[in-house]
Symmetry: C2
């Protein structure tokens, strides 16, 4: 018997993953959570039928959402991760010795528990003493955070269900307020192929708030279309002034200081998406 | 009734494309050729069940296999395309006014005929007077080419069936001989995720022949894993010395001079693939 997980990525495009075994499955208060062993991608965290991370390629997403802002900020001592219950981005943040404390705000405690148990390559980062887990809705938490941060990483799922509000103007505004005067925000802003409107809106919201805004791109095999965008807003530090070699290598599989500046060089059509005058007043 | 094309990309990973209509289908001497209208990606050329190009994202592959070598070479007057029967790479080559003549060697004349008729955004490039089509096996043609070239572009399908020999040592050696003393070869060298051995071999074969070899990466949504590699061998001109702004904009959707240098900055794991000591003697 062959078991396959089919993930609809658009109306006319879906992906099938061969499942070796279903390691864990549970309906939590927020979503249907599963840990699957896939034929080609190792173990995977699946939420409501959508693959969030796989052991085979999680490092690309987690390294790139983390190292770019962490290298841009000269001294990121206090870091906030919103979402990221798998612990992957957390693992990367903890590689910086200048980090004193990381708050991680996850809405669904069962995601963290499952990843600690079944995906230790990411989940074991919760064992670090510098980490404080806050079980809360990230959108609510950031309305009155317990302190100001140097770096905020918005590691959300797609803009449907609970994550929808993590792509809206008020949320980004509160993130801005939750940062110190030289703080940096980074958010995953979806596929430039399949979510052009989401990307355009998020980028432009962040652009209106921050002194410097930079979009960067990465290719992530298990995400729809592969091509993925991240938007970074910075109150003080500029990408152009950053020397990525200053902080050295970080025991990574994807990120290296050599690629830091290259990821900000955008293809024509992506420039077109972020500069086009789509209607921003709809959400 | 819904019709879907399922494409097996690895044993445990396949992709489904919703088919609006089957525009054309024929068993040629070499392969099963189809032109499909897809729900989300426009018209597509499909060979033996594998999507080669779609109207929605063909520009990424075709621009990037072409503009990188064409910008690196200061005066690419004589160009050879091996494969590329859809006409997409040809369209990009013809954007350079310094091009006097392009030879395109395609094994299957019916691919060209179908693309001229049903995919004119690519296929109409065959109407240009500078183009000479040679219906032949690229591997054979390059054993005794009718002239020497400035740039050779190997726009092959995957290394199975007729294209297998376009990934072998002797083929690259003959390409080297078929180039002028300052010539440049570029070849598509597959996904660094799914075809690490092919990439390692092709890169190292090219590396042993050419004075300068550079690998570059692009993200192509409809190709397995998205991440795609191209290897460029150059007899004289160095990437590091190239000023991509010299040749200006070329009416492209993906390529811009700004990204030229960035595509050569490789993630750690890709550096690992090309420098690892895999056994090169097997084919």
């Amino acid at each position: 018997m062959e078991i396959w997980l089919t993930e609809e990525q658009t109306r006319g495009y879906s992906v099938n993953w061969k499942v070796k075994s279903i390691i864990y499955k549970k309906k939590t208060m927020y979503q249907e959570l599963a840990i699957l062993e896939l034929e080609d991608f190792g173990k995977a965290l699946v939420l409501d039928g959508v693959i969030q991370v796989t052991e085979q390629d999680e490092y690309i997403y987690n390294e790139m959402i983390t190292h770019i802002p962490m290298v841009t900020h000269p001294n990121p001592a206090d870091v906030l991760i919103i979402g990221g219950g798998d612990g992957g981005a957390l693992r990367e943040v903890l590689k910086y010795k200048e980090v004193n404390a990381v708050d991680l705000v996850e809405i669904d405690s069962e995601v963290i528990e499952a990843c600690r148990e079944f995906l230790p390559s990411m989940g074991s980062s919760f064992d670090d003493e510098r980490v404080k887990v806050i079980i809360d809705d990230g959108r609510k938490y950031i309305e009155s955070p317990r302190k100001k941060y140097d770096v905020i990483i918005v590691d959300s799922s797609d803009p449907v269900g609970p994550a929808l509000k993590l792509f809206q103007k008020d949320f980004y505004k509160n993130c801005y307020k939750g940062l110190k005067d030289d703080g940096i925000l980074v958010a995953q802003t979806e596929s430039p192929f399949f979510y052009q409107k989401v990307l355009n809106k998020s980028y432009n919201y962040i652009c209106k708030l921050f002194k410097y805004t930079s979009l960067y791109l990465v290719c992530i095999p298990t995400y729809p279309s592969g091509l993925w965008s991240f938007t970074m807003g910075s109150k003080k530090y500029r990408v152009e002034d950053t020397d990525p070699f200053k902080k050295g290598e970080k025991n990574t599989k994807y990120y290296t200081p050599k690629i830091y500046h290259s990821v900000f060089k955008l293809p024509m059509f992506v420039e077109g998406i972020i500069t086009s005058g789509m209607n921003l007043e709809q959400s």
